[in-house]
């Protein structure tokens, strides 16, 4: 299962560049038509929001994460849980644009 960090819970949402501070996660299950928006449980915390987000994604069985940037602690946790990290280039402005190239 793949996850994209997004600012809003709809298809036109801009992609969030900072993993830990994202408001929503877009879960992409088997194909791009089967998606689900879930709010980030770490978003309410001022500290360690990234850690809480990684723990949440690991518990949901996520295999790869797509975002613009990852912090040092988050990256180490992803490596520990063997979750693939993908850096989305800035040319993809919103979720719809990203889903078009996602196969």
């Amino acid at each position: 299962m793949k996850v994209v960090t997004v600012k809003e819970d709809n298809l036109n949402s801009p992609i969030e560049d900072c993993f830990g501070k994202t408001k929503f996660f877009c879960f992409i299950k088997d194909d791009i038509n089967n998606i689900e928006f879930v709010s980030n449980p770490g978003n309410d915390f001022l500290k360690n929001s990234g850690k809480k987000a990684v723990t949440f994604l690991h518990s949901r069985g996520v295999t790869s994460v797509m975002s613009g940037n990852y912090g040092m602690t988050v990256k180490k946790m992803f490596d520990k849980h063997k979750i693939q990290t993908i850096i989305i280039p800035a040319k993809y402005k919103n979720l719809t644009q990203l889903l078009k190239i996602l196969k």
Binding site: S64, M66, M72, D79, Q84, I86, I87
Partner: protein, 136 residues
């Protein structure tokens, strides 16, 4: 002859390579070269909140060297802010602490979890990708 400059370790590649100030009339003409090591130093100290010795260990340089890199970065950042100059990121003399690949088709950058070469890009499934150098 002086000793060659040691390579700096960078956590992850950066997707954007230019920072344009909105008020600059001619952004290409007077750009400042912002080295990837300087970007990493500012990120580790100001964004991640680490101290100098911890950040120096992560970048595999001595603490005095790290302080010099950080000082140079702060001077370039302030010059860019005050003089409205463009910052151009340069990835010279660095290596990455992970096995990173860049897709030539969709331009995404991704790491490989298992220690084997990927067969295709995880986004567009293209086989046209390059391995970003990792000598750790």
């Amino acid at each position: 002859m002086a000793r060659p400059v040691k390579q700096r370790k960078i956590l992850a590649p950066h997707s954007d390579i230019w920072f344009f100030p909105a008020g600059n009339r001619n952004p290409d003409a007077d750009s400042l070269l912002f080295l990837a090591e300087e970007f990493e130093a500012v990120k580790l100290i100001d964004y991640e909140g680490l101290n100098h010795s911890k950040a120096a260990k992560l970048m595999k340089v001595s603490r005095p060297t790290f302080t010099r890199i950080y000082k140079r970065a702060r001077i370039k950042l302030s010059t860019s802010l005050v003089e409205k100059r463009t910052l151009k990121l340069s990835g010279e003399n660095i290596y990455y602490g992970d096995n990173w690949h860049k897709c030539q088709n969709c331009e995404c950058i991704y790491n490989v979890v298992k220690k084997s070469n990927p067969e295709f890009c995880p986004l567009c499934k293209s086989t046209n990708f390059i391995n970003i150098l990792n000598i750790d």
